[in-house]
Symmetry: C2
Subunit: 143 residues, 2 copies
Amino acid sequence: MKVKELATSAGVNPDTVRFYTRERLLKPSRNPDNNYQQYDTEDLRRLRFARKARQLGFSLPEIRQILDQADDHHSPCPMVRDVFQQRLAEVEREIGELQQLRKRMKTALVAWQDMPDGTPDGRTICRLIEHWDDSKPSKQAEE
Amino acid sequence: MKVKELATSAGVNPDTVRFYTRERLLKPSRNPDNNYQQYDTEDLRRLRFARKARQLGFSLPEIRQILDQADDHHSPCPMVRDVFQQRLAEVEREIGELQQLRKRMKTALVAWQDMPDGTPDGRTICRLIEHWDDSKPSKQAEE
DNA sequence: TTTGACCTGTGAGTAGGTCATAGGTTTTAA
DNA sequence: TTAAAACCTATGACCTACTCACAGGTCAAA
């Protein structure tokens, strides 16, 4: 398989295939006639694996590590379970932060209904934002 | 005010002040004696404004646009309301996506309890991930 | 006067790609 | 048969919003 065939099979940009090859997640051979990269079904499997792992929040170094372990015939799965647990915790933290943000944004929108726009006058730029309360529940505002 | 004084007043890294100055969000004058940047309380107001806007998800180009409008004595607030509404919708979309992801991760963790690790055998890399169901409720899986 | 803390501009690094460029190869169609 | 279109190569720049490093200039206190 050439670059574009592999990319099409996996549903990614050909440049992503080249990038993953540079990053040594894929290890194609070379066609000695024209110096083109030659990928096989193993590379397709690796690429699909890598894309799924990316969706799960694995970083490229982590994925490379998993693939390298698999090359050495070590089972990467215990490590996968580990990183996966950490990733789940992080996803939940992100959800919590975004929910806080949403709550504060909605509160602000309601408060802003009663505020005039006001042309900047040298003392204020846009009171909609300047009067935004950025305090977080976990720590006091610094100011 | 010199760089570090301004940075301290706003609670940011001095390099951020320098960066914002390069990006023309701050427009200090120069001390002709030593070529140092000279910031005033207006710059402090702009910097605090910019930091609050960043927390709300405004990009630097958007913030620069708001500040430039304020310089021209146009009220930036209608635009702020606009971008803010869009940003709120995006935050809600992100929350939804992350909640989907969390759900699928939890399901996967339960399913994985019953799966053996399995050493890579040339046909599979790590079935924990390869058997991950990445289908999204809004569209069918391609494969 | 020397030390330390500050200042200057510039450039590199971060993550995960995407796009551009310049040049070589292969395939397709006239 | 030939010319264009479509592919390939390697390399480097670009994206965000900073942060850090470097080399050299300035200034205050001891």
